[in-house]
């Protein structure tokens, strides 16, 4: 792994040297801000309406009306913007030929892949950190339940990291950034919606399809539970595509 930091450092510099990182962070935060504002306004509205019915009042809380929908919406926005973070990683280096020099420095292939991957994860963390003001506002408005919040953010981080590893693998297959972004979006969407078909296929296939689906594994996290099986799904998903990316780089060498 020696040398991963050099690649990591360069990738971070790369994110900020082209407008992509700003565009991704900007649109993610703008959309999340919009959803946050809409949810809080909705909460405001129904709280007013329920003011004189204690029964209804009990069922309205910050977690159900604001936090959970917000996190679900942010997950969908991640689906759209994560491919834009990874489309450059390998495609650009292949197109401009810079990968040839990178692969002749004393840095192993795994270190190159990990350096690039961790830089994208770092960007994801920066983007998610941009939503901290929402949480502060919630704290000013009331007492949000910490459990669903932590589990929800963990879910977003795991989901985003999984998209990033998938995107990086696809980027290592093509020289074209647009192709990379679109294919990543398509593949990620497929993993996202996979379990929609579970209800009308044979039972044993349904179980497999459910297990592969991202949405299915996000459900409990969204409820505030942190099950090991769901965590391991995302970790394995990520590890698998990181492994595939390393292999893809190796194949590139053979063809080179």
């Amino acid at each position: 792994m020696r040398g991963w930091y050099a690649v990591f450092h360069k990738e971070i510099a790369g994110f900020f040297s082209v407008p992509v990182a700003y565009v991704v962070a900007g649109s993610f935060l703008l959309l999340s801000g919009f959803f946050f504002w809409a949810n809080v306004s909705f909460m405001n509205l129904i709280s007013l309406q329920a003011a004189n019915s204690p029964m209804l009042m009990q069922r309205i809380n910050l977690t159900d009306v604001v936090i959970r929908p917000l996190i679900q919406n942010m997950a969908i926005v991640l689906l759209f913007v994560m491919p834009l973070l990874t489309m450059r990683t390998f495609s650009e280096e292949k197109k401009t030929g810079t990968i040839e020099l990178l692969l002749t420095y004393p840095v192993s292939d795994i270190a190159v892949v990990m350096g690039k991957y961790l830089a994208s994860v770092f960007m994801l963390l920066v983007i998610l950190a941009g939503t901290i003001p929402f949480l502060l506002i919630l704290h000013m408005l009331g007492i949000p339940d910490a459990g669903p919040l932590i589990a929800g953010y963990l879910g977003l981080l795991l989901l985003g990291s999984a998209f990033l590893s998938l995107g990086m693998f696809i980027s290592s297959l093509t020289e074209n950034q647009i192709v990379s972004a679109i294919l990543t979006f398509g593949a990620a969407l497929l993993f996202w919606v996979m379990n929609w078909t579970a209800s009308f296929v044979e039972e044993k296939f349904a179980a497999i399809i459910n297990q592969l689906s991202m949405l299915w594994h996000l459900e409990s996290l969204n409820k505030g539970v942190i099950p090991l099986s769901d965590i391991s799904y995302f970790v394995l998903f990520t590890a698998f595509f990181l492994f595939m990316t390393t292999r893809s780089v190796e194949t590139y060498r053979w063809r080179g």
Binding site: R2, G3, Y5, A6, V7, H9, K10, A13, G14, S17, V18, K94, T96, G97, T98, I99, E100, L101, L102, L103, T104, Y105, P106, V107, S108, E175, R253, W254, R255, G256
Partner: protein, 328 residues
């Protein structure tokens, strides 16, 4: 220092190089010469551990490129063709990245970058963005990144391609300058460059080595015949008859128009014999004026063209194993 044995590389079914073997001694400057697509880049990519060979063995400093790839990469500075460097970076951060990648400790990084910048003359442009640099400076940045970490071996693929004559001269001087304590392999299809810089030339065509020697030896050994250019004031018919009648002379042909009463000829004689003294004596004995008599030295270019075209005329129709050089 560098030992290559029966190296072969296939791209799919096409072979880029077949059974290439050569050795490079420590401190030598070796030029790879060959037409585009001959396999120069492929060989260099194998030596720099970018791409593995299909078969054969390549050892650098006694280490195999397959087994000790990471160690070899510490010892080899590489400048690929077209200088693929990150054009969105500024020069200093780029060199910092290279130093970090090559594992130069943090405390020595600034010093190392200063050293290579001085060596290639980058000090005026250290804060510029690379894509705003002229091609000559870009090339210097490319050389600087190869020099970081002070590698004992430099592999330079077409280091002067696309530069103007003045820049070519500057880059050539730079290469000569830092070659004195290093082993350098450089490729080129520009002949003067190779003959001026290199101790030894390896001519490679269609994936195989066709000749290997010092530039002057190559010219001597492969020169088909020695020739000289002469201009004589005298009757054309008689002059030609005299020269063709001489034993040393193989062929006589007229070159271009001459002034009234003069004859200009190109005389070809047996290799290794110099016909000039005999010709001058004969001409003077006839009472004609000898205006010009100059031997033509066979240049590396002639040797190269001979070797490369010889190969292709030996071949059956043009389709046989077109070697492919990938530049992506």
């Amino acid at each position: 220092m560098i030992e290559v044995k029966r190296l072969t590389k296939y791209y799919g079914r096409l072979s880029a190089i077949q059974n290439v073997s050569f050795q490079v001694q420590s401190g030598e400057i070796v030029g790879f010469l060959g037409p585009n697509g001959a396999g120069k880049t492929t060989t260099m990519r194998i030596l720099t551990c970018f791409s593995p060979a299909s078969s054969g063995e390549a050892r650098i400093l006694g280490m195999d490129v397959r087994d000790d790839s990471l160690k070899i990469r510490q010892k080899v500075g590489y400048l690929p063709e077209n200088v693929p460097i990150y054009s969105w970076m500024r020069v200093t951060p780029y060199l910092e990245f290279v130093a970090r990648s090559k594992g130069i400790p943090r405390s020595k990084r600034t010093e190392e970058i200063q050293r290579v910048s001085d060596a290639v003359g980058l000090n005026g442009v250290r804060n510029r963005i690379i894509h705003a640099l002229s091609k000559g400076y870009r090339q210097r940045v490319g050389l600087a990144q190869a020099l970081i970490g002070d590698p004992p071996i430099l592999i330079l693929d077409e280091p002067t391609i696309g530069l103007d004559p003045r820049q070519i001269r500057e880059i050539r001087e730079l290469i000569k300058g830092f070659a004195h304590n290093r082993t350098v392999i450089l490729s080129s299809h520009i002949l003067p460059e190779v003959s001026q810089v290199c101790d030894r030339v390896i001519i490679i065509n269609k994936g195989s080595i066709v000749a290997e020697d010092s530039p002057s030896n190559l010219a001597r050994r492969h020169g088909k015949a020695s020739r000289c250019r002469i201009a004589i004031k005298g009757p054309e018919q008689d002059v030609k008859a005299l020269l063709t009648g001489m034993t040393e002379v193989v062929a006589v042909e007229s070159t271009g128009p001459a002034a009234e009463g003069e004859v200009r000829l190109l005389v070809e004689s047996e290799p290794e014999t110099n016909a000039c003294p005999a010709i001058s004596r004969a001409v003077v004995a006839k009472g004609w004026d000898l205006l010009e008599l100059s031997p033509i030295h066979v240049s590396l270019e002639d040797v190269f063209i001979d070797l490369v075209t010889e190969e292709s005329t030996d071949d059956r129709p043009a389709d046989s194993s077109p070697a492919k050089e990938q530049n992506t």
